[in-house]
């Protein structure tokens, strides 16, 4: 637990973004997670990303399931509505919320127990439907709140704090997201803010389902030797496929071409992703390539990070359902009720 109280008053000289907010305006309550928890770093990256994107905090809805990770939405974006739903079911609640009002930005926060065990079904189906959301999976391979049981993302052969060896094959959420049709798939590490912040920004700007699996070591139950989700293990085995720069719009691009291996991926909202490829044959717009790379890296025991796949022209659920542009929660009887005259005709047809 972090005991440092956050002062409410901001220093007047704090830098403001284009919509007039300081970075502090994107913070939330004091975290109650363990000191050094990877999840808090992810919360910090989210705060940074939303601030840099000039998103008004109240235009974000943040939803989560149950678990340590799912508690975190209370610790950032304090002026956004949040919803701590039920275990493993954040995707469905977020889907409904998104249908009710398409004008907000939807952030789903989940953990590996929440998404890969109890919620594997909803995880897969939300990807299929293309709900416009950013899905952050804070992946530590362990159940923290119930004190140290393996989760379904724990690698086979990895060791629990109390010494048990995991004998079950792991669920690879990134591969699953790719198969199920997520249109933005990335993996990162909570300790790598330089990589994570641009990824989050790009995910938010993306117009379909964006999924980021963030390896986030559990300092209490999964940071020992023998764990494959510890700080040390991930630092040693992290293999980045690319380094990402995110540009909010085309206008803002400064010409800064570095040597070979740079890809520009225009997004639906005119923003630009610039990827510095570290692996020369990696093309993030090719889903099959992405799946192959992920599988090969896993075989070598590497954690492949970076933007693994992006479909720049992804459509979302609203496009699939051809829904009305105005938010449903603003429609009233005038727009929705066909009226007594029509009902009389329906009655006549039933006689």
């Amino acid at each position: 637990m972090t005991y440092l109280a956050k002062p409410k008053l901001h220093h007047p000289s704090l830098q403001k973004n284009k919509v007039g907010y300081t970075r502090r305006d994107y913070e939330g309550k004091v975290s109650t997670l363990c000191a050094g928890c990877g999840h808090d770093s992810i919360s910090a990256a989210l705060i940074q990303a939303f601030w840099e994107l000039d998103v008004e905090p109240h235009k974000v809805a943040k939803l989560s399931g149950i678990g340590c990770s799912s508690k975190t939405p209370d610790y950032f974006l304090g002026n956004s509505h949040g919803f701590n739903t039920v275990h493993g079911r954040m995707p469905s609640v977020l889907t409904g919320a998104n249908l009710a009002n398409r004008e907000l930005i939807y952030l789903g926060v989940s953990g590996d127990g929440d998404s890969a065990s109890i919620g594997l079904g909803q995880f897969a189906h939300v990807m299929r439907r293309g709900v416009n959301m950013t899905y952050i999976l804070e992946n530590n391979g362990v159940y923290g709140l119930t004190k140290g049981q393996f989760s379904a993302t724990a690698d086979k052969g990895s060791k629990a704090k109390k010494g048990a060896i995991n004998t079950d094959a792991p669920v690879d959420t990134v591969s699953l997201a790719l198969i199920m049709g997520a249109s933005f798939v990335a993996r990162s590490f909570s300790g790598d803010k330089a990589q994570l912040v641009p990824l989050i920004k790009a995910a938010i700007a993306h117009g379909g389902t964006s999924f980021i699996d963030v390896i986030s070591p559990c300092v209490a139950f999964n940071n020992h030797s023998g764990s494959t989700k510890s700080y040390d293990y991930v630092r040693e085995h992290n293999e980045a496929v690319n380094r990402l720069d995110f540009w909010p719009s085309r206008d803002a691009i400064s010409i800064d071409y570095s040597e070979g291996g740079l890809i520009e991926v225009p997004q639906h909202d005119d923003s630009i992703l610039r990827l510095r490829k570290l692996d020369s044959d990696y093309d993030p717009t090719d889903r099959i390539t992405a799946m192959n790379h992920v599988a090969r890296a896993a075989e070598k025991g590497e954690v492949l990070t970076g933007l693994l796949y992006v479909h720049p022209e992804a459509e979302d659920l609203h496009a699939h359902l051809n829904t009305y542009p105005a938010a449903f929660n603003r429609l009233g009887e005038k727009e929705l009720c066909p009226g007594a005259g029509v009902l009389e005709k329906i009655n006549a047809g039933l006689r």
């Binding site: 309550k29 008004e56 905090p57 109240h58 235009k59 809805a61 939803l63 939405p73 209370d74 002026n79 956004s80 509505h81 949040g82 919803f83 701590n84 739903t85 039920v86 079911r89 995707p91 469905s92 609640v93 977020l94 889907t95 409904g96 919320a97 998104n98 249908l99 009710a100 009002n101 004008e103 907000l104 079904g121 909803q122 189906h125 439907r129 659920l317 609203h318 359902l321 051809n322 829904t323 009305y324 542009p325 449903f328 929660n329 429609l331 009233g332 009887e333 727009e335 929705l336 009720c337 066909p338 009226g339 007594a340 029509v342 009902l343 009389e344 329906i346 009655n347 039933l350 006689r351």
Partner: protein, 614 residues
């Protein structure tokens, strides 16, 4: 030979068919033809959990007096399924009729001496007139409708009109259907004159009533009530509700200029997801519902508890059926009353509405959407297979154009800006209902973090006992407020002073009303109260208090509504006597009458004779 049953506008015809043989539309044509002659009918599908091959029945009760419950017994069996022959023949009332295809002769042992047998060479006629095997099958159904129309005296013009409406714009199908009908009609005119003592005579007893199934009616109620999000998972007998919603939305909710949909329907991966979507949409201020049945409700219960404690509007239409797994679930029951009233973990209870017929399915579906937002809680519409999947004659749908949706207590950006105090779980009006805000309302005020139980009145994280107690006591107060908002129970007063009362609900209505008359004829008088919602109003308590004994008539084994009356309304169980029907078939007036008569005799209560009435 037993005396022939002779009846005009008051008999039961049952069709025994093979599932998937195309009999449904022919049988429906038969049923509707009576309506067009001004004679009420009440048809029921009795169908298996199967697509093709298993037996299926369609029972039509012709009833000029308008008794729309199932009568029990069969006057004319149209036996088209060799598989169920013995059982079907057995079911015919003595003096009744058996209509069958006599192309192949059957031994005398296959019949009964006390019934009248009417044979017609349907297979031969089809083989003579059609070459295509599918046509032979389909038109056989229309041919027997023609023969029945002739024998019963259904006006051929009425059938021609119905066929014309059915195949409007499909002329290719129109003519062969009319021909098949004529084929059967003329055969019977010639060969089966006076074979049947059951007759139809034009009447004027239908009025302006409509003929519709409860699932379609509830779906239309959701359209009128402003539902924009529907999430569902296929389950008999509720699937046609979501499909009807889709159909009605396609007609009534597409923006004319843009072609865009003012609705979103998601067929979810399971009921966990469908209720999750409904809860998410409700949290974010859209009107949302799901349609399901018992097993679906079981899967949804975790979310229902969350929605109860987090105070999120949700409408769940439960088309009740006979329990888990497959088979009996294609039969009707009222067996989810307790499961829904107390659905979920922790201290929970929920608002239930009990529609009697499709008219109320429409009305209560729309009202449930208002109640869910007013009360910020899940609301169940408790229909069942009998209402949901059978067309029922009922009052036409009504809508008042001046009606406004009740969106409940939602704090606006202006109110927040003006500095109005916002405590998400604070009882400011004394009715237990707090204010809520939609996400994105105001830049600096009104945002809150939604959780289950761990919170104080201002939605801040709190595990403190007093905060929890304040909250759940407020929820109780809110449940009290619900009593003032839900549909009131309806009293049918006995014509004679009555010491007995009868409480009933939902699809039991039509059978109950018929039973009340039959009981009165035997000198047993009862005031009847149709409960239309839970929580119960005080009137229900008063009703029980003012009678010596009150019968509680239900279609389940465990007397579930009675349990609620005892447990929640504090009614003395000694005052209540259960009358329970739960074999999967719809309850009948005969059953209710017999049960109550027997109980009254056993109670050794001397029936009050009309001339001795006090």
């Amino acid at each position: 030979m037993a005396k022939r049953i002779e009846a005009v506008n008051d008999f039961v015809v049952k069709f025994a068919n093979v599932n998937g043989s195309g009999s449904a539309s022919a049988n429906e044509l038969f049923a509707k033809s009576f309506l067009r002659m001004g004679i009420p009918v009440s048809p029921r599908n009795i169908f298996p959990s199967n697509i093709q091959g298993l037996p299926t029945w369609y029972e039509v009760r012709v009833t000029e007096r308008g008794w729309l419950g199932r009568r029990g017994g069969v006057d004319l069996m149209v036996a088209m399924n060799p598989q169920t022959w013995n059982q079907d023949v057995k079911e015919i009332e003595p003096g009744g009729y058996l209509f069958y295809d006599d192309t192949r002769p059957l031994p005398a042992s296959k019949f009964r001496p006390d019934i009248h047998v009417i044979g017609m060479p349907l297979t031969d006629m089809c083989n003579d007139n059609y070459t295509d095997s599918r046509e032979r099958q389909l038109f056989k159904n229309i041919i027997y409708v023609g023969a029945l129309a002739s024998m019963i005296g259904i006006e051929p013009g009425v059938i021609a009109e119905l066929i014309g409406e059915q195949y409007k714009g499909k002329e290719k199908l129109l003519k062969p259907n009319v021909n098949a009908f004529q084929l059967g009609y003329h055969y019977a005119q010639e060969k089966l004159k006076d074979a049947l003592g059951l007759k139809a005579r034009r009447a004027d007893a239908v009025g302006d009533r409509i003929f519709v199934d409860g699932n379609a009616a509830a779906a239309l109620g959701c359209v009128y009530g402003g539902a924009t999000v529907c999430a569902w998972y296929p389950i008999t007998p509720s699937s046609s509700l979501a499909e009807s919603f889709q159909r009605y939305c396609g007609r009534l909710r597409v923006d004319k200029d843009s072609g865009k949909h003012k609705y979103a329907i998601v067929q979810a991966e399971d009921e966990l997801a469908s209720i999750g979507i409904v809860v998410g949409a409700g949290w974010n201020g859209a009107r949302a519902f799901t349609a399901t049945s018992g097993p679906g409700v079981s899967l949804m219960t975790e979310f229902i508890g969350l929605a109860y404690f987090a105070e999120i509007p949700a409408v769940i239409i439960n088309v009740q059926r006979g329990g888990p797994s497959t088979g009996m679930p294609t039969r009707t029951q009222q067996s989810d009353v307790i499961a829904c009233a107390y659905a979920s973990h922790g201290d929970t209870k929920h608002v239930l509405l009990f529609p009697e017929d499709p008219h109320e399915c429409f009305e209560f579906a729309a009202q449930a959407l208002d109640l869910a937002e007013r009360l910020q809680t899940p609301v169940f519409v408790m229909t069942d297979l009998d209402i949901g999947m059978n067309q029922r004659l009922c009052k036409p749908f009504e809508w008042d154009d001046s009606r406004k949706y009740d969106r409940g207590k939602v704090m606006s950006a202006e109110e927040l800006e003006a500095g109005k105090d916002f405590g998400r779980y604070l009882d400011v009006d004394g009715d237990g209902i707090p204010y809520r805000t939609y996400p994105g309302t105001h830049a600096k005020r009104g945002a809150y973090f939604t959780r289950g139980t761990t919170k104080n009145a201002y939605a801040a994280y709190s595990e403190a006992g007093p905060d929890y107690v304040y909250n759940v006591q407020r929820l109780l107060k809110k449940f009290e407020t619900a009593k003032t908002l839900v549909p009131k129970a309806l009293l049918t007063a006995s014509k004679e002073p009555a010491r007995f009362g009868a409480i009933y609900y939902g699809s039991t209505g039509p059978a109950m009303h018929e039973a009340l008359e039959a009981l009165a004829a035997k000198g047993i008088f009862a005031n009847a109260l149709r409960v239309r919602a839970f929580p119960f109003q005080d009137e229900i308590f008063d009703f029980v208090q003012s009678h010596t004994k009150v019968f509680v008539i239900e279609q389940n084994r465990d007397a579930q509504l009675k349990t609620l009356l005892v447990n929640d309304a504090g009614i003395n169980p000694a005052n209540l006597i259960s009358v329970l029907h739960y074999d999967g078939t719809p309850i009948t007036a005969r059953f209710i009458t017999n049960e109550i008569s027997e109980i009254v005799t056993a109670l050794n209560v001397r029936p009050i004779k009309k001339d001795k009435a006090a």
